[in-house]
Symmetry: C2
Subunit: 558 residues, 2 copies
């Protein structure tokens, strides 16, 4: 399964979804092509999904936000009769290596969080019109929506049959969302999650598993009504607004790396690392919001974010052996800040600028849950300023050169490495735990944080950055090369699993939210269960599912 996965698609190429927009309502219908699996070896029966199906869903979520400002409510439904969605394909899961399963679950979780983010931050309310049985990941997809409507046809049920049928957990937030979001009583959640056949009708409403059960004959009409009601309360521009097209990114991909317009990644396979460079903006700063709309996908913050997002997804899936990402920026500090000011000034009032802000936020969150060591190198010519400084703060460590590289030609030194704090480092791009990256970094040290608020909008050099606690170390040219090299070599020598666990703990300090709990308590347990023989062994439940043989469990509790 060393399939090289491309995350780019577009509605006209969808094999599994149909996106229809009518005025302020969009309908996204799942109709999985059985023979459309991303990888050979399984058929996508019963509207079950694999990574390929979810890549299309993610694309739809993105386009609804950027290309469809008129859409205020999204109806998520199925084009198949009596079958909403059966969740992740079991044969695919059973046949996949552990790392593939975990990465797949991470992406699907991020997409579902993105659906909730659209409801919360774009006035685009998602409604699950569950017109057939929603099982496992199918029900979890519905759980990511704001409202769940269930058809009352005496057979359609919602269920989380993973524990009884597959010996694993509902892996896309199901256990967390039933209690924390839908407030299902936990003993009922326990019952529900061990009952393969699920719950339907009135009981599903009473237990809060769905919001409403609707008779078949009034189904279509009621769904339309609920969508119209949701749309009515939206702050989204609505009909008349013009969206932004998202053309293909089409990076150059070869054995040495990936190159986009603003983002490049160079592989160093011997060292087990990727050198990621984000290039800052060039050219004129748009003076008006109208100009931002004209630029559309060419507006640097959006273009750069799309590229970075795509890069993260490709590297996570296609380059699992490159365990360290070295992150640099290149560009002019003032230009970076000028573009950032456009975002800061207009994100409250303009839907597109608001979308860009939240998209950069979501992309940073992807970095936060990426199981790679992230090291920021802050060198002369870099532009870690304001929003771009978040890239460095998302890293596990930050190294900043004090002074110049020795081999710099005299008279051409330019400026030494400098960083700039701005207002956007104090809450514009929160992490999943609800804290800004600075709050996480200085957790509980409010005085320090208050001091940093006084240090915004000016250039901070390496020594001062070190004193202010903004970088891990600030070697000068004499030490830089050795220190960085040894640090990267050491990192590459450590257990990848231990690093993944360590980083997952240290990146998220302090409080947890429903979203962070999904990646922590739920996902970490699921990762453990996925590698246990009771699930993935020869006689385990995942492998035996559908064979007619019952799984053989080691009954010992751990």
């Amino acid at each position: 399964m060393t399939h090289h996965v491309d995350f780019e698609t577009a509605p006209e190429r969808y094999r599994h979804w149909t996106l229809q927009v009518e005025g302020e309502i969009a309908q996204l219908s799942l109709d999985v092509a059985e023979d459309g699996g991303l990888v050979p070896g399984y058929e996508l029966k019963m509207n079950s999904y694999d990574l390929g199906v979810d890549i299309e869903l993610y694309d739809a979520v993105q386009r609804l936000r950027f290309t469809h400002p008129e859409v205020r409510a999204v109806v998520l439904t199925s084009a198949k009769d009596r079958n909403f969605c059966a969740g992740a394909n079991i044969r695919m899961l059973a046949g996949s290596p552990h790392a593939w399963k975990v990465n797949f679950c991470k992406f699907t979780n991020e997409t579902r969080n993105g659906i909730e983010d659209a409801t919360a931050n774009s006035g685009q309310t998602w409604i699950a019109a569950v017109n057939g049985t929603a099982a496992g990941g199918g029900y979890e997809l519905a759980l990511a929506c704001e409202k769940i409507l269930l058809i009352d046809d005496n057979s359609s049920a919602v269920s989380l049959p993973e524990v009884p049928l597959l010996g694993v957990l509902p892996g896309t937030g199901g256990l967390t969302r039933v209690t924390d979001k839908r407030r299902v009583r936990k003993d009922r959640a326990d019952w529900f999650a061990t009952r393969a056949e699920g719950v339907r009708g009135k009981q599903a409403v009473e237990w809060r598993l769905v919001d409403e059960v609707i008779p078949k004959r009034t189904w279509a009409e009621t769904v339309r009504e609920r969508a119209a009601q949701a749309a009515a309360g939206s702050s989204r521009p609505g009909p008349g607004a013009t969206g932004v097209e998202l053309p293909p990114l089409g990076p150059t991909v070869d054995d040495d790396g990936l190159r986009y317009r603003h983002v490049t990644a160079r592989f160093d396979r011997a060292a087990g690392l990727v050198e990621v460079t984000v290039h800052g903006p060039t050219g004129d700063v748009p003076e008006t919001v109208e100009r931002v709309h004209e630029l559309g996908a060419d507006f640097w913050p959006l273009a750069m974010t799309r590229e970075l997002d795509d890069l993260i997804l490709r590297l996570r899936t296609n380059e699992p052996e490159l365990g360290t990402w070295v992150v640099r920026t290149k560009g002019d500090v003032e230009d970076a800040l000028a573009f950032e000011r456009v975002i800061a000034r207009h994100s409250g009032e303009d839907w597109l600028v608001n979308e860009i802000r939240h998209y950069f936020k979501r992309t940073l969150k992807r970095l936060d849950v990426t199981s790679r060591s992230l090291i920021a190198l802050i060198e002369p010519g870099s532009c870690f300023a304001g929003a771009l400084l978040e890239l460095a703060l998302a890293c596990d460590r930050q190294y900043m050169l004090d002074g110049f590289f020795e081999d710099t030609v005299e008279g051409e030194e330019g400026e030494p490495a400098q960083i700039v704090l701005s207002a956007s480092n104090f809450g514009t791009f929160p992490m999943a735990n609800g804290l800004s990256r600075l709050e996480s970094r200085l957790y509980g040290d409010d005085d320090h944080l208050a001091k940093l608020r006084q240090e915004t909008d000016r250039r901070i050099d390496a020594r001062e950055a070190l004193e202010l606690g903004l970088v891990t170390d600030a070697p000068d040219d004499i030490d830089w090369e050795d220190e960085v090299r040894i640090m990267l070599e050491e990192r590459a020598s450590l257990s990848p699993d231990a690093l993944t666990g360590m980083e997952a703990n240290l990146r998220f300090v302090g409080p947890e939210t429903m979203e962070s709990r999904i990646f922590a308590r739920l996902t970490a347990w699921q990762n453990w269960i996925f590698v246990r023989p009771n699930a993935s062994g020869e006689e385990g439940a995942l492998r035996r599912y559908g064979t007619g043989q019952r799984p053989a469990y080691d009954k010992k509790r751990v």
Copy 2:
């Protein structure tokens, strides 16, 4: 490793610790007997520990709270030269089955949480006098203390070398406590946790890894001073107060179960379950606090809690294949409430009653993190009232008989099953997430919770309990036997791993605290890492440690 572990001990039998009490200061010194391992196959070198060493530590923690009300500060130190504690013994870990490692970590975590609980709730401040190197679990032991003093001898360091040396995480809260409790900046924590040699001297203070570095020549004197300072601010009774002896519980243990005075456990190996019965109080309710002190360990709430605590520990360690615990109570509802009122009335003013309250709280917390399915059966003759109702609420499900069993002799029915809510169900015994069990059960449903507050101190029968959301189901005699039997059979047929993960998610809804994060984010990741070949395989770091051979890692990130 099917060693039958006994968790009872006493200071005069300690092989690894010395407990010295002088006035209001206690000193607990670690001096591990190399040949004193609980299980054959390893030597406890360098003050490293196994479960046996930690059982003694737990005993000391308990006796300091109950037998030593005069002790206001506890100095935790080492009796070995230049060696505070090397953490969990690596050979023991490398040679242990996965389940043993996980259960061992759970107990050590609970004991360290208990140390913090003593500081927080008993005015007994623990101070780590780190008079030699504290590595891994050794430093984590210090992290559980309120203050960490480090000797400045040019060699003694604190370190978390698990990631670089063993390919696993610091498994006893280390990663969580450095950031969340000690507020070490997370990039520094990353550096620290990958640096095998650790940090010493001034840097350790600057990074907040320790509170103070003290020269060798003033060491003893300064430690005494710091202990005296901590004691000075304590609310603990201090010298003059008389403690309560904790005599051996000595349960009857045989193949069929365990029997204590107030708690019994009957094994049903065919069904894979244990029937736990807690017997309510009998005899006179103490009318005064003085009488409670006279009764001491015979005072029912303390006696019952000690037995329940010991039972949980034995079952978890010795009976891993009994995956379901069926929990019943037997006794008089009024008597249970009368005893509970003694606790409610005096826990604010009397140290012993306060200790009993917090001990029952800690024992319930042990249930919460126990990886067994917990099912409460509420039958006629039970006494799930007030504090004892917490036992039912700690369970995954609650079944309550509506009416009487058919075979009850007419005229001898007595009362049907009834439960009683009391004030103590609303915060007296919080879970690790900071919520009461009712708040967890009805998470986010404040109106429901407010309604329940109006329903305290009266008997609630099965139908009403069902309506009030206090039980999962309330079958009558016609359905009871089948429903309970089928439910228990179904439970026993499910994957033990999936159940463990599901229960660990559903029991803790909503917010997380440092304590719950240790059991969730940290421990769940550690469990995953423990089963990975990079740690536990033939060529993994745990197995290769100390052999001179370097581990061979699969470099793929997951």
